[in-house]
């Protein structure tokens, strides 16, 4: 996804971050690597801009943070909160509806004939 359409991409970084944090706590660098790996590099966030997403999610109470020393380095780990689980469910449902709708359009006969 080289360029992003803001209206379509709205909420996607949040969705991916929440989904990844559902499985385990991570710090920013790990989150960016995980997004790249798990989407086979199709979704590649600007590495530094993941932090505003994390700060905003923390402000809304969807995730919490904790500073921890690991291998002599201080890291800020993020974890999903109960509100984050609810938010993830909502965003997942929204994304499913959106992708289903797009899929319907792509598979409809009228449009297939044009293509």
């Amino acid at each position: 996804m080289g360029s992003t359409n803001p209206s379509f991409m709205n909420g996607v970084p949040e969705l991916l971050v929440l989904r990844l944090l559902q499985s385990r706590e991570m710090y920013g660098y790990q989150i960016v690597q995980a997004i790249r790996d798990e989407t086979s590099e199709v979704v590649s966030l600007g590495e530094g801009v993941v932090y505003p997403v994390l700060h905003a999610l923390e402000s809304s109470g969807a995730i919490s943070s904790q500073r921890r020393a690991v291998n002599g380095r201080s890291r800020i780990y993020y974890a999903l909160s109960p509100q984050g689980v609810t938010r993830l469910t909502e965003l997942t449902a929204l994304w499913s509806r959106l992708t289903n709708a797009v899929q319907q359009v792509l598979e409809s006969e009228g449009h297939a004939a044009i293509v």
Binding site: V32, E47, G48, H55, I76
Partner: protein
């Protein structure tokens, strides 16, 4: 920490991002950069690892823009500048004067329990309360306002307007205390200090001039100093 982080710090504060979020953002970006440099050094061409790591992290404008676009990460002064700089300081001044009044009344009431004469030092307590409310509090609040504005890199218009309002309210509102003595009730009040006589108007003008000088001078000097330093940084960069 690369020099671009200093520029990013300034850009974030000017964009209204709260200092807490800006500080943590830079710490996290610094950590992230270290990880990227280590990753790039392990790659094929270790010499330009830092340059590639910085490119992957993002340029200062992109990094700042992503943070500034999030309204929830802005500081109070950026979210509600009029409330912060113009409305809150006079309200705090009135609250401070009210507290001083309550303190003086409580002290005098406790000491005069049963109609006993007040000890001589009570006058010193009352004078200190009046000096704090009438003289010190407007200046302290003005300095606080200036520090908040400078730390958040706010444009000068609203802070200066707030300081003007504070200086005027501080000069007009005057706490007045007369302690009770044998056969006389005491009096305490918060008056405007305005009246028909020339002495009252000249007193008001004197207080206003003093407030303005004490509040605005340090802010103007520090603002000029900061602007000059920012200019030097740009020259050396």
């Amino acid at each position: 920490m690369p020099q671009s982080f200093d520029l990013l710090w300034e850009r974030l504060l000017r964009g209204g991002v709260s200092r807490r979020h800006a500080r943590r953002y830079l710490v996290e970006l610094g950590d992230h950069l270290q990880d990227l440099v280590a990753e790039e050094r392990a790659g094929a061409e270790p010499r330009s690892a830092e340059t590639r790591a910085l490119a992957r992290l993002g340029n200062p404008e992109t990094l700042a823009g992503a943070m500034i676009a999030r309204r929830e990460l802005r500081g109070l002064a950026a979210r509600a500048p009029i409330a912060t700089y113009v409305i809150a300081p006079p309200l705090a001044l009135a609250a401070g004067a009210a507290l001083a009044m309550v303190g003086i009344v409580a002290t005098a009431t406790a000491l005069r329990n049963g109609g006993a004469a007040l000890p001589a030092w009570t006058q010193t307590v009352a004078d200190t309360g009046v000096f704090f409310s009438n003289g010190l509090l407007p200046v302290l609040l003005g300095w606080t306002l200036g520090v908040v504005a400078l730390r958040q890199r706010s444009a000068t218009l609203l802070p200066v307007l707030g300081m003007l309002v504070l200086a005027i309210v501080g000069a007009v509102l005057q706490l007045d205390v007369t302690l009770p003595s044998a056969g006389h009730h005491g009096e305490i009040g918060l008056a405007t200090g305005l009246g028909p006589s020339f002495a009252q108007w000249s007193g008001l003008a004197g207080r206003l001039t003093l407030n303005l000088a004490l509040i605005l001078t340090p802010y103007a000097w520090l603002n000029a100093w900061r602007a000059a330093r920012a200019g030097e940084d740009r020259t050396y960069a």
